[in-house]
């Protein structure tokens, strides 16, 4: 792992006179000893797999607990039936995020980004962007490299696991990665990519991981939708010129420190928070009595 801070990536891009995403691609070529083409092609396969997962959503499937499934179709129907409150872009992003989260819970093939539980955020935002803004696929793949670079820093300097840092480390990381990717697609500079990631992450700090019955279902699936909306929001603020008062790398450090302060009962152990509610216990009992 080469980059421990966003600052390093930005200064490398200045030194090498290339874009944020190219720095990440070059590092991958070095790290895995592969050609530029091979690295780009592997990332394109990831994007393709996200597309396939979205297209093959099956609303009839139910998860292990039998409570997750079918909401993606509800959201699709609402979006197609009228001009929704969220507007066309966010309505579709939210629908795709929920569909992907449900597919994951129902044992379909997805792309962990950065984790399986947070697999809906990045494809929701990027697939919607490609479709609605008519972007070229190659540019979407570049945006995935941007997301990967941000994720690499988060994994190195903080955490991307719910057990390690709470939900902020999963959905928060995914949202920050997606925010940077959208800022790039909107023509944002290297600094603006980092700023968008910081703004997104700040909104997610402190989020705990308290899944019902320890399963990647409640609240994870709907939180993917929240992470997707938050990512677009952060990119929107950034492109308007709104700046994070806290340096982006300091925001990442904060997430790491907060993660350590979150007690173990709220880090993917299914013991506290939502997992400890009467509703959650009913769901858990239903699961074990089968």
């Amino acid at each position: 792992m080469s980059f421990a801070s966003l600052r390093e990536i930005i200064s490398e891009s200045q030194k090498r006179e290339c874009l944020f995403w190219e720095v990440i691609l070059q590092e991958d070529c070095k790290e895995r000893n592969v050609s530029r083409e091979a690295s780009f092609e592997t990332m394109r396969r990831m994007y393709q797999a996200m597309k396939e997962a979205d297209a093959s959503y099956d609303a009839s499937l139910r998860s292990a607990s039998a409570i997750a499934g079918g909401d993606g179709l509800r959201l699709e129907q609402l979006r197609k039936s009228k001009d929704t409150l969220l507007g066309t872009f966010l309505a579709e992003a939210v629908e795709k995020a929920v569909k992907m989260g449900e597919s994951n819970a129902c044992m379909r093939r997805i792309v962990a980004a950065p984790t399986a539980g947070s697999c809906g955020v990045i494809p929701a935002v990027l697939l919607t962007y490609e479709k609605q803004r008519g972007a070229k696929e190659a540019r979407m793949v570049e945006a995935l490299f941007v997301a990967a670079g941000i994720g690499e820093v988060l994994a190195t300097s903080a955490s991307i696991s719910g057990a390690g840092g709470g939900c902020q480390a999963e959905i928060g990381s995914a949202s920050a990665m997606a925010a940077g990717a959208v800022a790039y697609l909107e023509g944002g500079s290297e600094e603006e990519i980092a700023n968008a990631a910081a703004l997104a992450l700040k909104n997610m700090l402190g989020l705990t991981c308290d899944p019902v019955a320890g399963l990647v279902e409640v609240p994870c699936i709907k939180r993917n939708a929240s992470g997707a909306v938050n990512a677009v929001l952060a990119a929107h603020l950034t492109m308007a010129g709104v700046r994070s008062a806290i340096d982006p790398d300091e925001v990442i450090d904060s997430m790491q420190r907060i993660g350590k302060l979150i007690p173990a009962c709220l880090r993917e152990t299914g013991q506290e928070g939502l997992a400890a509610t009467p509703s959650a216990k009913r769901i858990a009992e239903g699961l074990s009595s089968e």
């Binding site: 792992m1 990440i24 590092e27 991958d28 790290e31 895995r32 592969v34 091979a38 592997t42 990332m43 396969r45 990831m46 797999a49 998860s63 292990a64 607990s65 597919s103 994951n104 819970a105 129902c106 044992m107 379909r108 093939r109 997805i110 792309v111 962990a112 980004a113 950065p114 984790t115 399986a116 539980g117 697999c119 990045i122 995935l144 490299f145 997301a147 990967a148 670079g149 994720g151 690499e152 994994a155 991307i160 696991s161 057990a163 019955a213 320890g214 399963l215 990647v216 279902e217 299914g270 699961l287």
Partner: protein, 229 residues
């Protein structure tokens, strides 16, 4: 870790540790057995036992034992496929001491009668550790070609193995030695940068004082591995 551990892997959900990691443990165990599984006793431990059902952990392990990788969309149907292939599957609870919370013990019998006992741990993010083979410590990740030699604890066996590797131009990435007791059973676990020729692996197994040789190869999957890595 590389960027395709961040964007990726492509996997069947819902959990990288309880599903994808579980498939991988089964997959590595199947390769170590080096023949199709006729009977598998799958003994779950810790969180695998407690929340495995909701995460499809059982289905995932059986899928791996059938030779599927974590992105195989047939994973949810693995029990039915096992039945179709006459693979007998029994589930139970593992009695392990101080094991990783996501652990499974696999007692495997191959179609030719070869037996193998593997304890695998899912470390998170679909990374795994093969902790034990036939009751002896192993500790390898399945990311490299890996040679496991069970031998009598007597002078010369390490030299025999390493000189063979040197002769075949195989570089050692990591090497571990364990023994149950002085002069008793010992084990070498060697992770390599290159594949070891099959005939060399089989040559080792015929040496005096060598009880069992197990080899984990990345071959046959090189194309797919490059996509997933």
């Amino acid at each position: 870790m590389n960027i395709f551990d961040i964007i990726g892997p492509i996997m069947v959900g819902p959990s990288s540790s309880h599903t994808a990691g579980a498939v991988k443990i089964g997959y590595v165990a199947r390769k170590l057995l080096a023949e199709p599984v006729a009977e598998a006793q799958i003994l779950l431990y810790g969180s695998f036992l407690a929340t495995g059902k909701g995460h499809g952990t059982q289905l995932a392990i059986v899928a791996g034992l059938l030779g599927m990788e974590p992105d195989d969309d047939r994973i949810p149907y693995s029990l039915r496929l096992a039945e179709e292939q006459n693979m007998k599957v029994l589930f139970g609870e593992a009695k392990l001491k101080e094991a990783h919370p996501n652990s499974v013990q696999l007692n495997l019998t191959g179609t030719s009668g070869r037996q193998l006992e593997v304890v695998g741990e899912s470390l998170g993010g679909s990374l795994i550790n093969i902790a034990k083979i036939d009751g002896l410590s192993a500790n390898f990740s399945g990311e490299h070609p890996t040679l496991i030699v069970h031998n009598l604890d007597q002078p010369g066996h390490v030299a025999e193995v390493t000189s063979m590797l040197s002769h075949k131009s195989v570089n050692i990435a990591s090497m571990q030695l364990y023994r149950a007791s002085r002069g008793g059973e010992a084990v070498m676990v060697i992770e390599c940068d290159q594949e070891i020729p099959r005939e060399s692996v089989s040559w080792l197994s015929h040496l005096e004082g060598v009880n069992k040789v197990t080899y984990y190869s990345l071959q046959n999957d090189i194309v797919q591995n490059d996509i997933l890595r």
